[in-house]
């Protein structure tokens, strides 16, 4: 033992006369490095509550929780991450995976509190001194754990496809589909955005796991037109896809098509179409064999009802057939999809126009319930002079003829008036019919065009030329051609609604010639049958319904699709068809119960 060891207990006694000295903060405060991974921050406006941070956290330190001032809505779950600092290891995987880049880390690292519960907190929601720190760790493009690029769909080259009505998109091959499906985060934000709430993450997962038969069943749970939608859906799901915030959204539409393409031959077998259907007492008449009507028919047959569809044309499909050209949705694809629905036992009366060949009142007496799904099949006309001049066509009627296989000669120069999807279908079809020049005249600006961006881009690639802030004022015949007097527009000052409306520029009148002018400025509903059964129609000509049940003012008569919503896309019509089937089932069941009780 050394002398120091002997004396040290005695040297400790010198402390008894010293005043205690306490250091409140045991370390000297020093700012963390600029990219230090300190306490979390979250931009709660940018955050969409997708929960990917929760999924990736290896320590299960993150939970998605509701926040009282944040509401769920399109593209936002309404939840926000809550982090438990008793579990967090500050690895920053949550930051590196965040699809929107909202989650980050400040460079703050000192947090003294006597309440350990405080260390379970919601960044960006709970008020902390580092809440608005700019410094700290943020996701970089190089470190992003997600793949921002979608797998492109192989399509026909513009110079080739503008001369043919053959389908322009070739479809994904296996490797492409699996690669694209692997990008999905399974956050489910897309489900709410889809009007018919398809279980998108589940069918994408089925592709990854090569369970295509399961995938098909998942599709048919909510949508018997998945094959058509896999080609033409407006894809509200893609608009809200988490990846779409900083990269390409998942190509959900193409993945849907992949499942239906791969299972097309065995579809009826996989879905056990027509097998073991329940039998219920009750008959339903469906007026209009388009997407809304046939979807309702499919689900009503699956409930077990006897279903009869009344269709004014000699073929079913509605706007899917008569409004969408072959190069986007081949007729053989639509035909086989419709056949699956018919194979459930749906009866059809073709070439029958309700309201003319048979009255709505008669049908009301024949069936337990009716579903009106006649669409919006009348083209709106511009009330200008010369609209009836030969050579001036109505867009919807033109597309109807193309769908029936006609190939009219439009001449060399075609002007299409309008800016919606119908105008895009019309101008692209005009190209395919051999027109040398096709123009689209739209009264407002490009930014205001209601057509899908993809459609506009593809039209431009095919050589369609666009004239914005331009409108015709008068049309007349000039020899063999049409003389179209037009005027240029400019946007006025915002009005009380905040909207800037187009106003004609004085002195900007000009005249052009064309061989054909096609009006595609809107669609309206023919609801003249409504008065036959005292069904209320709105000022827009649509059938007035209870938005929750789709029932009209007349008990047992329901309406849905474009004829109720106004002109809209196929997926909304399909959603209405499914919803109507559910509420018609409830109505008939309740009616049957009432009859049984009163006997």
């Amino acid at each position: 033992m050394s002398l120091k060891d002997i004396l040290s207990p005695f040297s400790a006694w010198k402390r008894t006369l010293e005043k205690p000295y306490t250091v409140k903060k045991p370390i000297e405060e020093r700012e963390g490095a600029d990219r230090y991974r300190g306490f979390h921050v979250n931009d709660i406006e940018k955050c969409i509550g997708c929960g990917t941070c929760e999924e990736i956290c290896q320590n299960e330190a993150i939970d998605m929780v509701p926040v009282n001032f944040i509401h769920a809505g399109k593209g936002d779950s309404g939840l926000r991450p809550q982090i438990d600092y008793g579990r967090c290891c500050w690895c920053a995987l949550c930051v590196d995976v965040c699809p929107t880049g909202s989650l980050g880390m400040s460079n703050d690292y000192i947090w003294v509190t006597s309440d350990p519960q405080e260390w379970v907190f919601k960044p960006g929601v709970d008020d902390k001194i580092w809440k608005d720190d700019d410094k700290g760790y943020r996701r970089s493009d190089e470190a992003w754990l997600l793949d921002p690029k979608l797998t492109p769909m192989p399509v026909m080259e513009p110079d080739v496809r503008k001369n043919t009505f053959d389908e322009m998109a070739y479809g994904y091959e296996v490797v492409m589909a699996v690669e694209e499906a692997s990008r999905c985060l399974e956050c489910g934000i897309c489900i709410d955005a889809c009007p018919t709430h398809m279980d998108i993450p589940e069918y994408i997962k089925a592709i990854r796991e090569n369970r295509l038969e399961d995938g098909l069943k998942i599709l048919y749970d909510t949508n018997p037109f998945s094959e058509s939608c896999g080609r033409v859906c407006t894809a509200h799901c893609q608009d809200v896809c988490a990846l779409g915030h900083n990269g390409d959204p998942i190509a959900i539409r193409w993945l849907k098509r992949y499942i239906t393409d791969q299972t097309a031959e065995k579809r009826n077998e996989i879905l056990r179409i027509g097998k073991s259907l329940p039998q219920k007492e009750g008959t339903v008449g469906i007026i209009g064999g388009g997407p809304a009507g046939l979807t309702a028919a499919f689900y009503l047959r699956n409930y077990g009802y006897h279903v009869v569809v009344y269709e004014q044309h000699d073929k079913l499909g509605g706007m899917l057939r008569y409004g969408i050209p072959q190069y986007r949705l081949p007729k053989e694809v639509l035909d086989r999809e419709i056949q699956t629905i018919l194979d459930t036992g749906v009866e059809v009366k073709y070439n029958t126009t309700v309201g003319k060949d048979i009255s709505l009142k008669e049908l009301k007496e024949q069936y337990d319930a009716l579903f009106i799904s006649v669409g919006a099949q009348i083209g709106t006309q511009m009330p200008i002079e010369g609209i009836d001049t030969p050579g001036v066509l109505v867009g919807l009627e033109f597309l109807d003829k193309i769908a029936e296989g006609q190939r009219p000669d439009l001449g060399e120069r075609v002007i299409v008036v309008g800016g919606g999807n119908t105008a895009m279908d019309v101008c692209r079809s005009s190209m395919r019919l051999g027109a040398k020049e096709v123009f689209v005249y739209y009264r407002r600006t490009e930014a205001e065009m209601p057509a899908n961006d993809e459609e506009i881009e593809e039209a431009k690639e095919e050589g369609v030329k666009f004239e914005f802030l331009t409108t015709p004022t008068k049309i007349s015949k000039q020899g063999d051609r049409l003389k179209i007097e037009c005027i240029r527009m400019q946007l006025g000052e915002p009005d009380a609604t905040g909207r800037r409306r187009p106003i004609p520029i004085e002195g900007s009148e000009f005249t052009v010639e064309a061989d054909t002018v096609i009006m595609a400025i809107g669609q309206k509903v023919d609801s003249s049958m409504a008065e036959q059964a005292e069904v209320k129609a709105t000022r827009w000509g649509t059938f007035a319904v209870d938005p929750d049940t789709l029932q009209t003012n007349v008990k047992g008569i329901f309406a849905g699709g474009d004829c109720e919503l106004g002109p809209d896309d196929a997926i909304h019509a399909i959603a209405d068809g499914k919803k109507a089937a559910y509420f018609i089932d409830k109505y008939i069941s309740k009616k049957g119960k009432h009859h049984a009780e009163t006997k």
Binding site: Y442, R443, E493, I503, P504, A520, A530, R539
Partner: protein, 157 residues
């Protein structure tokens, strides 16, 4: 302008305002009459709304007659000129919403034209100014209807 209009004479502000009130009443009664003729209940509602608007216009003019002021300032109303290129149509018991709006816009344009004509024809400064204000009010009505046409009919154009 027709011979009957050529024969119109106004000697006072009150006479002009009484004439304007009569015109608004005629318009109101026109819409009420057609509201009873149309079969579509939705269009009936539209025509009733138009009638109610004309009643409001009448009340506004009566207010001016009682000493109130016109509220619309010159330059405030920007003309969308949608109706300027319309072909003329007649009302029909099966008219659609689009046609009802066209008829209404036509009527407002007719009223505006009438007051402009009377303004031009008048030699009295006070009455000229009054006709100008009445024409301005009609342009406001036209703008309101054209805005509805722009929003509800020209959805894809």
């Amino acid at each position: 302008m027709s011979e009957s209009l050529n024969n119109l004479r106004f000697d006072s502000i009150d006479q002009v305002l009484d004439f304007a009130v009569t015109k608004e009443e005629e318009a109101r009664d026109f819409y009420l009459e057609w509201a009873q003729k149309v079969k579509n209940m939705g269009i009936r509602e539209v025509l009733d709304e138009f009638a109610a608007e004309e009643q409001k216009h009448k009340d506004m003019i009566l207010n001016v007659k009682a000493g109130g002021a016109f509220k619309t300032k010159p330059g405030e109303i920007i003309d969308l000129k949608i109706g300027d290129y319309f072909v003329t149509i007649d009302p029909d018991e099966k008219m659609t919403y689009q046609e009802a709006l066209q008829v209404a816009i036509q009527r407002e344009m007719g009223a505006q034209e009438l007051y402009r004509y009377l303004q031009q024809r008048s030699n009295e400064a006070t009455l000229k100014s009054l006709f100008e204000k009445l024409a301005l009010e009609e342009s406001k009505h036209k703008r309101r209807l054209e805005q509805l046409f722009d929003e509800d009919i020209l959805i894809e154009n």
